[in-house]
Amino acid sequence: MPAEVKQEQSPSNQTSLAMMQEPQDVVEETVTIEEDPGTPTSHVSVVTSDDGTTRRTETKDMSTNLKVTKMVKTVTTRTVRQVPLGPDGLPLPEGSSPLGSYTDSIDRRYLKNGERYITTPQATSTLTRSYNNYNDSYSDTPPPDASGSQYGGRHYGLHDGYGIGDVTENYGSLSRGVNYRPPRYPYAMANSYRPENSYVTLPIRKDDYGHMAQPQVPMGSSTVDLNRSQPERFQPEPYGLEDDRRSLGPDEEEPYDLEPDYSTASRRQGTLPGTNRGRTLREPLRDGPRVRGYEDPMEAELIDERHPYIQGMYAAPLAQPERGSMASLDRLAGRRSPSIDSIRKDPRWRDPDLQEVIAMLGHPIDPVKSNAAAYLQHLCYENDKIKKDVRQLKGIPVLTGLLDHPKAEVHRKACGALRNISYGKDHDNKVAIKNCDGIPALIRLLRKTNDMEVRELITGTLWNLSSYEPLKMVIINHGLQTMTNEVIIPHSGWEHEPNEDSKPRDAEWTTVFKNTSGCLRNVSSDGAEARRRLRECEGLVDALLHALQSAVGKKDMDNKSVENCVCIMRNLSYHVHKEIPGAEKFTDPSALQAPGSAGTQRKKKEDAGCFGGKKAKGRKNGENDKNYDTLDLPKRTEPTKGFELLYQPEVVRLYLSLLTESQNYNTLEAAAGALQNLSAGQWTWSNYIRATVRKEKGLPILVELLRSDSDKVVRAVAIALRNLSIDRRNKDLIGSYAMRDLVSNLPSGQQRPAKNLEEDTVVAILNTIHEIVTDSSENARSLIQAQAIEKLVAINKTSQSSRENKAASHVLQTVWSYKDLRNALTKDGWNKSHFQPATTSVPKAAKNGKPGYDDTTLPLMEKNQGQSGLAGETGDHPGLAYCGELNGYSTIDQRDKDCKYQSGGDGSVDLAEREPLKNDTHRKHYIRSNRPAVSLVDAYDVKPQPVDSWV
């Protein structure tokens, strides 16, 4: 998935590194671990013989599970593994499959150990023994059967998480060890989860959970590994001697008081592991990030337990292990080091499979939980398959359950895992989070925590979730006010009641703010109701505006947070004239008439109603300039607040500043879109906005942007100009000064790629031109002078796009309708036929002379720009929404790459915007060199961004 970042992997690498160091010291054996590149889940089982030769068998196939009733010390490795029996000798349930994979690993370790350490207590452990035996026959050259079955089982277990047959057996072995442990440990969690997964996390007790053994297995395996690595040292341990399984269990109990808490596996690991752990951890890392995560928890626990025990004996090794969970985390964050490979080779280590990891989420020991979650995050990174597997293994409800965990480490890691899981195109994952009430849980945690990292993760997750339409309203319902109060307002610097003594604060572009604004940006595109909710969310609009003003003030306008804020503002401005409570009061009656006709536009102002009649001199012709220029805005006694701020003329300056200063195409587009939205419609405020844009000298700024390299910016600006030209004075100015730039964006005959704009953009420009020339023969004359006729005729005749044909045709018809221009046109060699719809493109449009001739008043392309076909209206541009998703470590930048536009509200959204920007290198030259002295503004001397000014 695009969103996912490589970073996650890197963390694992780091982990591996850390592990590597330790392991080397500890590891006696040299194992080469093979990883299956193709299948992440598959585990390679490495068998190392005492001599140090390692074998790898990757098992994917777990075809047959051998069920051994008991584990005999002498049992061949295969049988041992296969034996599903618990330590007691009871056959383990198949459900324990995950264990199988573990067992495999264990076996391997044992084998190694066994060979080497046969004498050692560890070796004595049943597992070991069996393995040992196995090894003997097996070690150097694994028997096909054994390898196949065992390894197959392992892989299987890992992959599916449900190695049924084989796994069971393996489990059995592992579980036995586990089973022997004292019943002390409560594994409520494990139980609860088992049903689904049938994997209990780390259930050490077999007694309690004979079947549950699986979870234990992983632990056991890891522990085993540890033990093995250090088994020799541990000789003192009586456990080793016992059956493998038993030995494990008992060992833990006896030697380590602490152990009881920990799953057997972990305990053991902890104890022995001190030395081993490092290695084991490292190994897992090698295999994959997953392993690390898994191990980490184990280690952490182990370490703790070990301390009393191990410290004395193995101070050195312990040092690293002690880091425990943290260390693992670090590793996750880190990147792989070359040494990893060596680590991987250590046969003793086995990665926990997914089920085991998920089961560990329910482990009673918190560090195990957090490590399991961290490992899950790591596994899920950029791996959609794993995410899906986690979902199917019911891991998501467990993770969301951990959000309410009191310990920061736990809910932090759970958050991280959820963030990765929520990222990607697989919306089922998002839905799964929602279905287990993950969204309110995230919001709860957001309210509760002050930990910046956690807040980043929460908001990142919410951002990811917000990219899926059906969840948007859910997020609004649960989190809008909280996100606003907890993040947007504080980080925007806005204060409800500004303290006069204190300086107004600037916005802080924190990650949390960025994530939250991204989330709100996404949800703001969910239609009218979403917009209403956001507008009415107390403090939201105020804070966003404050943040944007702060950005303008600091000239820091290119960042993602600003982009998000502008996009929200733009979305909230959409249809503002229809959706604001009381909007009717401001609506011009004339607007109800044909919006397309230019004449009506003028009238709008009359309606101003409460604002006094002066403005409303409504001209039918376009001479109202005076009115507009002297436009008096309504006086307010109370400061504007809330959504009213959206359409106050004051925002015009803000958007124009953004349009002038920002280098971010998305921001530019959104700012232009906001002006487009605000200047659409027939209500009083849009009149003010249109006039204010002119008075603030915004027209030259917009025209300048017609030369932008960004297709979507050009389009948004073109539509904005169209809406602005509803104002007669604007229309005259735009006609005089923007025509050349508009025309230059049109494809010219064959050489289309003057700029290679998309069809939508070309159509938008054509519609804008049409609007400008409608009811203005002066502007039509400008159009002719801009050499547009040739282009229009070419488009009309040759364009492959019927929409372009149609749009060009409308313009041409309009031009031809000005009889006083026909002379000039004829002189240039044009005749009526050129201004008729091309026969090809418009089949029905009469081939005969006049079809469509008088159609100037017809709506422009209805389909174009949503429904804004009519001349005056356009505008409503749906909000843009990025699906920003965070992946574990991925940064937001990724999103940008993947960003898609989502349709904004009402379905009138233009989806066309997904297309990548097209850069035209020619453009810049053009812009700088050819820049006309634009004076769209009333003041003649206005120059937007002069490079060179005569004085």
């Binding site: 002038t660 001397d941 120059k943 961004q945 002069p946 490079v947 060179d948 000014s949 005569w950 004085v951």
Partner: protein
Amino acid sequence: MSFIPGQPVTAVVQRIEIRKLRQGEHLILGFSIGGGIDQDPGQNPFSEDKADKGIYVTRVTPGGPAEVAGLMMGDKVMQVNGWDMTMVTHDQARKRLTKKNEEVVRLLVTRKSLEQAVRHSMM
């Protein structure tokens, strides 16, 4: 003209007083400026430090008031009538120069040759 932000700038400056010429309803100075904090300083051909966002004289009309007063192409405008021009936008500078109610503008400019001349004399 490189400088360290926040540190005082030492520059050899020349005072130039230009009397505007009336052309129709406009008052002209007869030179053009480039630069400003809102412009891309990298494109300024006259600055030594390409991060310098100051206002520079880009062209001087032959025989115009500016040339008569001694303004030269490439001069960096430090002040206009006492107003700082080293940290202004292009438009602000332009406006400061084109006040309609001011017949005369007094510039403080610096140029390489001035610095070199001073350095030379001091050595």
